[in-house]
Symmetry: C2
Subunit: 168 residues, 2 copies
């Protein structure tokens, strides 16, 4: 059983949150929802409501076995918060698994931890990924070190399968 931090802000792509979280829970893993402010309710692009369990400022990345970042507008909104960015930076540098889908690499760009890595992501951020010194991969799931990444909702089955393997 692993404890997974799901990093969520307003405007997340609903299925990119709900489907992986359901699969992680069904496999016996625990989810803590981390965001800007504990107790805050954030909504997905299509209305899914999620309550933040813990703020990134108050909780140590070491409490978790893996980090999961859904896409949509959420990563761009979260990367304005220095505590969230620092949480992501520490997590990526810890070597523990990080699961990224869609716009999630934006948070790693702002945390300056993407250089030299290979990642999949939503095609709109391709040049941002390349300018950050990383390689953009157009594949359903890409694994590079501790990073497991996918492009879009259609990739969720492959994304979940690869993530669950990492959790063992």
């Amino acid at each position: 059983m692993s404890i997974i931090a799901a990093l969520v802000g307003g405007g997340f792509e609903d299925v990119e949150y709900t489907k992986p979280v359901e699969a992680f829970r069904n496999a016996g893993h625990m989810i803590t929802i981390v965001g800007k402010a504990a107790g805050e309710e954030v909504k997905g692009k299509h209305g899914t409501a999620v309550r933040i369990d813990r703020s990134a400022a108050e909780i140590s990345p070491e409490r978790f076995d893996a980090l999961f970042i859904p896409g949509g507008h959420s990563p761009d909104r979260l990367r304005i918060d220095p505590d969230v960015v620092e949480f992501v930076r520490k997590f990526v540098e810890s070597g523990r698994p990080v699961f990224l889908i869609c716009h999630a690499p934006q948070l790693l760009i702002t945390a300056r931890v993407l250089r030299g890595r290979r990642v999949a992501g939503w095609p709109s951020i391709r040049v941002d990924i390349e300018n950050a010194g990383a390689e953009f991969m157009d594949a359903p799931v890409v694994e590079d070190g501790n990073l497991v990444s996918s492009r879009k909702p259609e990739d969720i089955p492959a994304f979940v399968e690869a993530a669950l393997k990492r959790l063992g």
Copy 2:
């Protein structure tokens, strides 16, 4: 009287479109709304409906005296379209005025025309701007060559004033 191309896609920040367009029209300028597909209706984050006059694929940047790009989610959605990106690239390289607010620099990053420039923008895209070889400026309005840029809705009065001066 100038003819201004307003480049608009779904999820634009409503006031960043409506207020400058109102000011440009009140000053006697004409607006053509350019987007992915002519005739398409796109909506702002807060519901403002706008109909696209011309697609970026079918119209030459030379038809316009200036380019105006509002922010919100619109620039990130538009930069997936190669015709839109090419329209922006040609416009910036033409030397004619380009008015950018909020997330608008994302389109210039994907068009690879931001290197060596100084721009203001929404703070979430600061590292993307820097990784593109540009300088991020935290000021209400920044002018660098043909680029006039601002950060956010609160900057609109300064943004509009600087843009109107360029239109003469």
